[in-house]
């Protein structure tokens, strides 16, 4: 069995599962946020009774992050509904906006707060819940109805997916980031190439990556239609987890030679800096193919591109220079926001570097990654051409249906911000 199959078997209480089996499994953590939490709670109350309590308070994590810094009345009401539910049930893991407890983007916050445990099973009401798979666990996104059923019973039915393996060999050149690797994969297999399947990543280049960068690979598994993304854990994973939580965990590994749908091997030295052109994450081009494309805006943020490593990468290019176009910087979480003030590149803090180069700095949240209410920081309103470290560029994703979004690594986004046109980071990285 693969690692995915083994985790599912364990949580189903079975010795063995095979792809295609429909099984009921026990959920270790259910995560929800401000967009899908309130309707999940509505359905939960309708099905389990107005006073019903969550099946296990210790396993419910509520992280408002999508529509936080907005005057939109309906969006604010969603947060109030979550706050009331958390108070009613005295929930230990609710991260309230406007308080020191507020975290920001759920997928990063789950990692930072130690909820991602190797071998465990996490379900979230967000398609990028697959991000947590970077910790060697099964994680996938579901809708409100499935979440409501978990809230009442702790269980979900799942179809065991086949596994597609992606092995990255060699050592990552200094101008590439995890974003380039995953854009390569999505360009190869398409936005539905992984539908119903597990995407498993390994190889030397993957294990050389810091844990946060690995999360960029699993984060975008859904962009290929994948059910989950997963990276078998190593010592780096364990260290990351132990620094953040005392919870016990039991890592799981696939059997050598376990049957897979397919295996693809990549030599990372052969991969070029890449973009996904408008309007689909699989619309891949090398940066050199689209170099010179005129841009209106650059954006560094989101669960996949607003990590500390992403800002260090962007700052290493922006330091001492001025951006030529509107450039937005949005840390995924409040912790990362704090780190901008203490993490330095050649003596300057990231915050100083971004301020001096003329970037606009926002507060930790999803912000313009998904458009959102009209007053959302960084949201497009016209026919802007944007280069962004986010994960999705469908029409209207960043707000305006007329806008065009290129997805790229923080290196490529920063290099492009300086020139105002799509620029290969190799031109500016020394």
């Amino acid at each position: 069995m693969t690692i995915t199959e083994k985790i599912l078997a364990r949580r189903a209480g079975r010795d063995r599962v095979v792809p295609g089996d429909n099984i009921w499994v026990d959920v270790d953590i259910l995560m929800t946020h401000d967009v899908c939490g309130p309707p999940t709670i509505d359905i939960f109350r309708r099905e389990f009774g107005a006073d019903a309590a969550p099946w296990d308070k210790e396993k419910l994590v509520i992280i408002p992050d999508h529509y936080i810094f907005t005057k939109n009345h309906h969006a604010n009401r969603n947060v109030e509904l979550l706050r009331a539910f958390a108070a009613e049930h005295d929930l230990p893991y609710y991260y309230d906006p406007g308080t020191p407890n507020y975290k920001g983007v759920c997928h990063m916050a789950l990692a930072e707060e130690g909820f991602n445990l190797p071998g465990s099973l996490l379900i979230g009401t967000d398609s990028h819940t697959c991000t947590s798979g970077a910790f060697g666990m099964f994680s996938t996104g579901v809708g409100n109805t499935d979440a409501a059923l978990i809230l009442g019973t702790g269980k979900i039915w799942l179809k065991v997916p086949e596994t597609m393996r992606f092995v990255f060999e060699g050592s990552l050149p200094p101008y590439l980031m995890a974003k380039d690797l995953i854009l390569q994969v999505i360009g190869d297999i398409g936005t539905d190439g992984g539908t119903y399947r597990a995407l498993e990543f390994d190889g030397e280049a993957v294990y050389d990556l810091p844990v946060h960068e690995r999360m960029t690979l699993t984060n975008m598994a859904i962009e290929a239609g994948g059910k989950n993304g997963i990276i078998p854990p190593d010592e780096k994973t364990f260290e990351y987890v132990r620094e953040r939580t005392d919870r016990a965990f039991e890592p799981v590994y696939g059997d050598p030679g376990a049957r897979c749908h397919s295996v693809r091997h990549y030599r990372v030295e052969e991969i070029e800096p890449l973009v996904a052109k408008p309007h689909s994450p699989d619309n891949r081009a090398t940066v050199s193919e689209v170099a010179g494309t005129r841009l209106d805006r650059a954006y560094v943020g989101s669960c996949t591109g607003g990590k500390l490593e992403d800002f260090v990468a962007a700052a290493s290019i922006l330091r001492g220079q001025e951006v030529a176009i509107d450039t937005y910087i949005v840390p995924a979480t409040t912790w990362i926001g704090e780190q901008l003030h203490s993490t330095r590149v050649e003596g300057d803090t990231l915050y100083e570097i971004f301020e001096r180069s003329g970037c606009k700095l926002g507060q930790a949240s999803c912000a313009a990654c998904l458009g959102g209410p009209s007053d959302t920081f960084g949201r497009t309103h016209g026919s802007e051409v944007v280069i962004s470290t986010t994960n999705r560029n469908f029409p209207g994703r960043m707000g305006s249906k007329q806008a065009s979004v290129y997805l790229a690594s923080p290196y490529t986004v920063a290099a492009s911000a300086l020139s105002g046109t799509i620029t290969d980071p190799r031109e500016v990285l020394v």
């Binding site: 009401t125 579901v142 109805t145 059923l149 269980k155 539905d192 209410p373």
Partner: protein
Amino acid sequence: MKKIISGAAYVVGDAIDTDQIIPAEHLVYSLSDAEERRYYGRYALSGVPQGCQGLPYGDRPFTAPNAFRSEYAIVVGGSNFGCGSSREHAPFALQEAGCAAVVAESYARIFYRNAVDGGFIVPFESIERLLERVRTGDLLEIDTSLGKLSNRTTGEEFLLKPLGDVADILKAGNVFEFARQAGFMPA
């Protein structure tokens, strides 16, 4: 699930993602408040770009401006229908607009699951590509027990793929009824 689902077709292209089915800015409305939920019907498929709205014409909104219900009951799409976010608001919006079924070549996993588990719409998979065989406004009839789609306007008939594993959930009505039958939830 009804034996016969019939009504006018609304035809869209490939990779209709959830931002096109219900743009993110509209996700703020309550799904349970009777007054507010109607807005999901109003904005269903409103993210489909001009030129692609109601093929082959391209300029026919799914829900008429200021209306809450659509005149179309069956959406016909290409491959990877519903890709993108996990928002259950997507199949819900289609249902709220009055749509009963989608017939597409293939689906993104979460959309498909949401449609079935919530009992919002029936997601049928077509065997052949229908985009060029059905025009927006054609009168369609789906016989759910035979798995057959008839285009009453052109007289053509098409077979649909069997619903397979999810048929039991669709028959139960939604995943809660299914879970009750499986004994995980009190009846």
